[in-house]
């Protein structure tokens, strides 16, 4: 591919909309063409600028009540309503979980798959009970020391705000039979839970992706730590988050 061929694919490339073959062709060209690489970098910078949370207009409080839906009058606050919606979603998840469990008994699901289910359930629970964060801070120098008093390990807390993934806090959670660190990042209105704890086995494992009940999950292991990232964010942006997190 030359610059002329690549040009039409640069936007779909930056958007993660190319098939694997095309993507590799574009990457091959980018590795030897600084001009096209600059263009992709400019595109990424623009995409980051457009991900500023302040550009997103969230529905004003009270709009939901104004909707003349065929819905019974409600005195619930929006937050409680969303909690109720989340509870409905969670009960669906529990049901799906039960179905999955039956399926796993039949097909012999691995321990990792079961852990993935728990990671997703933990993510949903954190949103549902409005308990996303124990320590609310966008400052890694606040979040990291907070964990030191709670856990027997100290997680890495990279600052990704300038790349469009601001840290919003941290939380203690319980997974894989042990307390773990949950770092909470945001992309627009989407929360990303990043769980991490010391690995039980040493070898590094590359990032692998899976989806559970509409949530996207990424898992990897590096330098003796296990990492799980989960969000309802689209695949492409979650991949970008993981790439940035891994540095």
């Amino acid at each position: 591919m030359n610059c002329r061929d690549v040009y039409q694919f640069l936007h779909p490339y930056a958007d993660g909309e190319l098939d694997l073959v095309r993507q590799l062709e574009v990457e091959g060209h980018l590795s030897e063409c600084s001009e096209c690489t600059d263009q992709v970098e400019n595109l990424r910078a623009l995409k980051t600028a457009l991900a500023l949370p302040s550009l997103y207009h969230r529905a004003p409080a009270g709009l939901r009540e104004k909707l003349q839906l065929p819905i019974q009058p409600s005195t619930r606050s929006p937050r409680r309503t969303y909690a109720r919606l989340a509870a409905v979603a969670a009960s669906v998840l529990v049901l799906l979980g039960a179905v999955a469990m039956v399926a796993s008994l039949a097909s012999g699901t691995t321990a990792d798959d079961r852990l993935a289910e728990r990671v997703v359930a933990g993510h949903v629970r954190s949103l549902q009970v409005d308990h996303l964060t124990d320590v609310v801070s966008s400052d890694k120098h606040t979040v990291k020391p907070w964990f030191r008093g709670q856990l027997d390990f100290s997680p890495d807390v990279p600052d990704l705000a300038s790349q469009g993934y601001p840290l919003t806090g941290g939380r203690l959670d319980y997974l894989d039979d042990r307390p773990v660190a949950a770092l909470v990042y945001h992309r627009r209105q989407h929360a990303i839970n990043l769980y991490t704890w010391p690995a039980t086995d040493a070898p590094d494992r590359p990032v692998r992706g899976l989806s559970r009940n509409g949530f996207h999950v990424r898992q990897w292991q590096r330098a003796g730590m296990t990492y799980w990232a989960v969000s309802d964010l689209n695949d492409q942006e979650l991949d970008e988050f993981v790439r940035l997190f891994r540095g």
Binding site: H11, P12, D15, E17, D38, Q39, E41, N42, L43, R44, A45, L46, K47, T48, A49, L50, A51, L52, S54, L55, Y56, H57, R58, A59, P60, L63, R64, K66, L67, Q68, L69, P70, I71, T81, L85, V88, A89, R188, Q189, L233, N234, E237
Partner: protein, 176 residues
């Protein structure tokens, strides 16, 4: 209009989680808070009416398509000029940041980004909003905006190019 309790519950579950997305799109299209609230209310009414024809799948593109239609109707009704001419003088920031590479390292001025988006022609604006703020796929954007995927791609490229030009202060097309 009457929906039985089960259908009502399904409708709520399908549409209410996307209230923010609905308002965000309406707000960027009408460029007005009150108008956007009216449009969202109208869109939810229409959605409830059309709910029987919803064929399953992801509710967000379906709802956003209805919100978009309601927004365009509002724009037509209020005869708001869709296209705001780009004022080159007001937006000419000189050539201090005309090097496109600087775009990547520069700290973006939020207000500048917002204004550049508002000034985009409507068709480019809605495409960029659906992609960058809502994270929809090309196919979903094509469904919402009722054009082929190829058109989505060219609008996205043009929209971004115009944004880069405006943000870098070279309206004549300095960013390649």
């Amino acid at each position: 209009m009457h929906l039985d309790p089960d259908t009502r519950r399904q409708f709520e579950d399908l549409t209410l989680p996307h209230l923010d997305a609905a308002y965000n799109l309406a707000r960027w299209l009408t460029r007005d808070d009150h108008a956007a609230q009216d449009v969202v209310q109208e869109a939810y009414l229409r959605a409830a009416k059309y709910f029987a024809s919803f064929r399953g799948g992801d509710g967000r593109p379906w709802l956003l398509g209805i919100v978009r239609r309601a927004s365009l109707d509002w724009l037509t009704k209020h005869r708001q000029r869709d296209e705001v001419a780009f004022n080159e003088v007001a937006h000419d920031r000189g050539d201090e940041e005309s090097n496109p590479v600087l775009l990547a390292v520069r700290k973006w001025d939020q207000e500048l980004v917002r204004q550049a988006l508002i000034d985009l022609p409507r068709q480019l604006r809605e495409t960029v909003i659906l992609r960058e703020l809502e994270g929809l796929t090309y196919q979903q954007i094509a469904t919402v905006t009722e054009v082929p995927v190829g058109t989505v791609m060219s609008r996205l490229a043009r929209g971004r190019q115009q944004l880069q030009q405006r943000l870098s202060g070279c309206p004549e097309g300095g960013v390649r």
